[in-house]
Symmetry: C2
Subunit: 397 residues, 2 copies
Amino acid sequence: MKKIIILGGDGFCGWPTALHLSAQGHKVLIVDNLSRRNIDNELEVNSLTPIQPMGTRLKVWEAVSGNKIGFYNFDVSKNYHRLLTLIKEFQPDAMIHFAEQRAAPYSMKSSWHKRYTVDNNLNATNNILAAIVESGLDVHIVHLGTMGVYGYGTAGMKIPEGYLKVKVDTDDGQTLEQEILYPANPGSIYHMTKTQDQLMFAYYNKNDQVRITDLHQGIVWGTQTKETRQDERLINRFDYDGDYGTVLNRFLMQAAVNYPLTVHGTGGQTRAFIHIQDTVRCIEIALNNPPAKGERVKIYNQMTETHRVRDLAKLVAKLTHAKIDFIPNPRNEADENELYVANDRFLGHGLKPLTLEDTLLEEVLEVSKRYVDRCDLSKIPCVSYWNTERKNSQKTS
Amino acid sequence: MKKIIILGGDGFCGWPTALHLSAQGHKVLIVDNLSRRNIDNELEVNSLTPIQPMGTRLKVWEAVSGNKIGFYNFDVSKNYHRLLTLIKEFQPDAMIHFAEQRAAPYSMKSSWHKRYTVDNNLNATNNILAAIVESGLDVHIVHLGTMGVYGYGTAGMKIPEGYLKVKVDTDDGQTLEQEILYPANPGSIYHMTKTQDQLMFAYYNKNDQVRITDLHQGIVWGTQTKETRQDERLINRFDYDGDYGTVLNRFLMQAAVNYPLTVHGTGGQTRAFIHIQDTVRCIEIALNNPPAKGERVKIYNQMTETHRVRDLAKLVAKLTHAKIDFIPNPRNEADENELYVANDRFLGHGLKPLTLEDTLLEEVLEVSKRYVDRCDLSKIPCVSYWNTERKNSQKTS
C-alpha cells in the first residue's frame, strides 16, 4: 500500500487512474482545481458522457468499493504553500502529475491560451519539484508527458525511450559517444511546455536527486476502464470537441451522429496510440518500478501501437459506413510522416496491450450512441489555427 | 536608425546597452519594472557605485548626448497587454530582451527564489514572443542568454555556437547526420530557465518565423563603458554581493577593501568572460546582422576569453597583494573543468576583444576604491546553497 497524491485527478486520465490505484488498495488523495470543467464552460461544450461532480464521484466510489479517496480543490500552479503543507502532512510515497493543460489546439487558440498553458504547466511542474525538495521527503514523481516531445520521427530510426545515443567528432579527431535527452521538437505550445518540463526534471534530478518517472504518452482513446464501468456515476469524461477531443474518439463520435469523419490534410500523419485502460495500467507499473535514488529520470514511451490518421478514419468508416471528409489542416505540420517507437520497457514489465482490433472500438461507439443527445454538432470542427497562414488557407479553401 | 525597445534597460547590461545604442543614433525605449533595484532592497545591499534613479539617468543622458530615451515602468512577465500595446504603437524594428532574473545564487536561495525565477523568466520570454506574433509585426528579438546553457564543457571538444553536429546509428544500419541544439546541461535554476527559453525561441521561430538572435554570454566583468563614463550620474551598477556580484568584479572589490579573495572549492572551474564594453558592442553587431525571415535562431557565443577561477584570483592577488582564501563551494558543480569555446561569429563581424591584460582591470579596481565607503563587508560571502548537502558541508568546514 502506497500513499499517492494525484494532481489533476478530475481529468480524463487522472480520474480513471485515481479509481484504479484506489482499487489496488493504495491510499489515494486527489488535488484538482476543476480547470478542465471550467474550460468546458469557457468553450461552451460538455463532456459527451454525463460526468458527476467530484462530491458525487467520491461518494459513489466509496459505496461501490469501500475505499475512500480524499479531495482538495486548489491550483497547484498558484498555491505553492497549500501544496507544500499537504505534502508535509500526508507524506506521500508518490505524486502523479497530471496537473497541466493538455490540448494542443487549445494552447494555440490565442495569445491568452498560449500564455495560460505556459504559465500553468511550467509553474505547476516547478512548484511540485520545489515543494518536494523543500519538504525533505523522498517522493517519487510520475509525470504524464507526451510522445509529442520527440516531434514526428525520423525516417529509418526507432524513437528510443527518452534518451538517444549520439556520436560527436571532436576537434582533436576523436569521436565521443554520449547518451543525451532526445532532441526536442514540439509541434505546439502545449507540446513545448512538456519539453520544458523535461529540462526541469533533469535539473532537479541532477541537483536534488528527486526520483522521477516521465511517461511519454501517445494519443489516448477509449473512455471507460474496469473501475469507471462499475456505476454510471463513475463514468469518465468523453471529449469530442475540436480542442479536447482526441482523433479516434472524435471519429467514433462523428460516426455516431452521422457526421462525416473530418481528416486534417491528407491524414498521412502517423501517430502513437494507447487505450485509457492501458494508461492506468502503465501508471501502476511506473509506480511499482520507481527509479533508485540518484538514478537519472526514467522515461517510458507509453503507447501500444501506431497508425496513420487516414487509416483510422477508414477503419471507423468500415465499421460504421460513415463518410470521410478531407479538410485543410489547421495545424502547422507535415502532411505525411513515418513513426517507429520503442516501447520495450512497459512490455518488459508485463503490459499486454489492448489494440484497435478489440471490441473496445465497439464500446466507444456504444458510448457515443448512448449519449448522442448531449452532442453539440457545432463544437466538432477544430477552429484553433497554428498561425496566420494556416488560418488563411482554411478560409479560402 | 532603428527603433529599439530594451526590456530590462535599467540593469547591469541593459543600461549601458541603452546608452550605447542611443549614442549610435537609434531611437531607444526602455521598459523596466526596476526589479533589480527592488531585489537590492530585499537583499539589503546596494550597488557599490551610486546609480541614479531612472529619471535622473535619462535627463543627464539627454543633456550629455542630445538624445532622448523613453521609459516605461511595467512588468513584462505580468502585464502582457501593456507590452502588446507598446509594440503596436512604437512599431520597433528590434527588441532586446534582458528582462530576466539573472543571478544563479539568487535563483537557489529558497523555494520562493526558484519559483520567482522560473515564473518571471519564462513568462517574460513567452509574453514577448506571443506579443510579437499577435502584433503581426516583423520584430527582431535579441536575447541575452548564457554560456551556462552548455554546462561545463566536454574534454577535447570546442563548444560550438548553439548547434552541435551529431551522428546517430539507425536500426537499419544507416548513420544519420543531424545538427541539433546543443544538449542543455544547466547548473542552476537560473541557467535552467535559459535552456527553457531556447525551446521557446526554437518553437516560435519554427511556427511563426519570428526572427531571433540568442547571445550565449560569458561572465561579464568591468562596470563602465564609453557612454557611462561621460558623467558620474550615468554610472553603471557594480554588484559585489554574494548573489549578484560576478567573480572577477568580486575579487577586485575584495582586494580594494583588503578582504581575502574567496575562491569556491579548488577554483579549478574554467569560465568564459567578456568585458561590459564588449557586451554592448556585441549587441550592436547582433542588431546589425539579424537572421533572415525563416532562418533558424541565430546563436552567438558572446565571450572573448576563458580562465580558471583560481588563475583570476592569482592575477588580482599579484596586482593588489591580496590574500586568497579557498572556501567550500556552495554550488553543486565539479571542482575542475576544461572549457573550449568557439566565438568565430563575433570575431568575423570585426569584434576586437578587450582582454584581462588591458588597463581595464585597473579601472575596475579604481572604481572599487573610489566607492569603498559604500561597501557592506557582510554582504560579500555567498550564502545561497545549491542543496542541503552543500549547505551542510559549508557549516561543518
